[in-house]
Symmetry: C2
Subunit: 428 residues, 2 copies
Amino acid sequence: MKIQAVKGTRDFYPEEMALRNWIVDGWKRVSVRNGFAEFDGPIFEYLQMYQVKSGDEIVEQLFSFEDRGERKLAIRPEITPTLARMVNQRINSLPRPIKWFSVPRLCRAERPQKGRLREFFQWNIDTIGVDDVYADAEVIFTTIDYLQETGLTAKDIQAKISSRRLLKALFEAAGFVDDELPALYLLLDKKSKLPAETFNEMLEEKVADPARRKIVAQIMGVKELNEVSRLMKLPEEASAAMAELEELFALLEVMGISDYCKFDIGIVRGLAYYTGIVFEVHDIKGELRAVCGGGRYDNLLKDFGGPAVPATGMGMGDCVLEILLRERGLIDESLAARRLDYFVAVLDEALRKDAIALTARLRRKGMRVEMSYKGGGLGKQLKAASDIGASTCVIMGREYIEERKVAVKDMATGVQKLVGTEELLVMP
Amino acid sequence: MKIQAVKGTRDFYPEEMALRNWIVDGWKRVSVRNGFAEFDGPIFEYLQMYQVKSGDEIVEQLFSFEDRGERKLAIRPEITPTLARMVNQRINSLPRPIKWFSVPRLCRAERPQKGRLREFFQWNIDTIGVDDVYADAEVIFTTIDYLQETGLTAKDIQAKISSRRLLKALFEAAGFVDDELPALYLLLDKKSKLPAETFNEMLEEKVADPARRKIVAQIMGVKELNEVSRLMKLPEEASAAMAELEELFALLEVMGISDYCKFDIGIVRGLAYYTGIVFEVHDIKGELRAVCGGGRYDNLLKDFGGPAVPATGMGMGDCVLEILLRERGLIDESLAARRLDYFVAVLDEALRKDAIALTARLRRKGMRVEMSYKGGGLGKQLKAASDIGASTCVIMGREYIEERKVAVKDMATGVQKLVGTEELLVMP
């Protein structure tokens, strides 16, 4: 029997695992220093949970199944519904603001392509219970804080920022009603990925009235924040949304990341649940899918049966990020190299049990230690040591038998010195 | 809409997550120091992969589903088949010994009960390509190395060790044929969990001949390794298995963990693929399920379409471990406490943007920093700081406006001193 991995999934051999750990550990470290606490939920939830608010694209991509009790379940395609469920369950006891992060494994039954797999890891940060636009700014800051730490600069990436609140106010002023908006957002979200002709055909399908199509084009054609007021006499809600965006950009300036940030009305986000500031980080060359995206979703907790509590967050998958980091040469090729404290070798096979004993004692002291499985002459053992990248060898020979001393050999310089085993056990 | 979590799954709020991270980080650290490299596979694989060698109990507990291409898939209930698949795929290029570990999330569709959930995490360590019993000893050592580090002593836990190779030789000498053994092992594995009467009834069902049942009872009645030779004139294979067990116990002695280890012929392991040394770690009081189990499985790679390569390994779930650690008082209650470097507060609301800027700069230097979202008077902000466990506050007031200095306040002692912000940014 010879079985393959399922298409669109990945095997993480130690080399790939080291890279994944480096990415995930970075996500965790930056989350913690920005004041977020880690949470996680189950890998599967009731199917129904994803059918309500996730947006059509995600619903179509669910891996669903039934358990023995014929409950309809699904592997999680995103973690935000789980977050909403968990927060709602303890809404009265959790101190606010709730600032949580997670690095869930997610699955989507889509056709595998560049930067999109059927299984991936996604960094999520969310601030719940804060209405202030500072929370949105902080989510964007934390995102950039991480990306900048990987070595990406403002010449590589840009956070493109818009507001669903602004778009909604503008579209409503142009005569659209609430029910029409989710489908419009989903289409506009795809605009940059579609040929202009295809987009126009699809827009014609959704919006029959040519006058309305024109205003959609005008709105989406805005290049700078200060052009918005030239579109029309702004209704009060649109002015409020504008003020919010202006405050956001002022905060991003204060935080020192304005060189990474730009207003872009074309950022719409496909998910149905966004209500305010939305953003995506893109590679500046525009060759890849979005590195991440997020925004404010003030109604989600209520939609999941809880009270109305404001919320804002971000999700970043590992696939596009990895491609970008690789293209920019920002992945350390030595990540997977093993870092051993010692490799224990013996001059005489008769000392093998002593080597086993010493190896065990060093490990129990917390040191990373390996020895040869095959034994053989010292040369062979030192070759094995160098093959697995040991920088220091402990050689047990005559001095061990006579006075419990071992030779500690620096593999790079070849320099070696005699050390008592008890001394070795307390060495840093 | 109010949706619950699926029964048998867990929500990891920050407190539970901190505990899970502590367990998983310990598994990882001890694996690395014992020379194992981390790997992982996909959360789902082809269903067929688990139907071949996993043993009936696991096959019955699969969460299976179909993708859009009508491929039959299953969420992984264990990682060993994935390991066998991955190693086989690169069998000619992977340097040996292959010493890998993993901490996979696994799912089994079983009835949730104490220490058994439908979703859990499992530490796995495996050594592939080493025939020598030292590899088995090292797997047991690594297991005990971790458990001992958590604070568990030889008074709390014991590794019970037996040999499927020995059992097979004894049962064959008693007239059993190869095909009968998997079902017998599965039954014997349950012996300690069943009332004697139920076990005897089930044994009668499987083994019709009373003479054979008697020899099964005699074999399972052995208390010490040196009693085995009194059962019968040992066939050659049984003697070889005995010699292997004796060598194993000698190595465990050399490694300094013999106080944790004991021969126990009753350790059979339910899984079909074990071929040699098998072991389980139990709490000494015998109140819980096994903390972990493992053993040698020399045929698995071949069964998965690869060459015959020897292998030995161990799996430890997080559920029983957590119960045991909790019962023994070995879980640090402050694990989930947030460890902030600074909480930034302002004397005057007009300084809020300066506080935001300072917070951002400190975070970019790698420091864990939080500030108040609500603002308000200094007393209110210091209360917020103490609520989230900040040990040091940075207070921005008049001295900041006049000379860019802030007061650094030790929250425990109340002592505060003036520090320049640039100095703060380079403080450790």
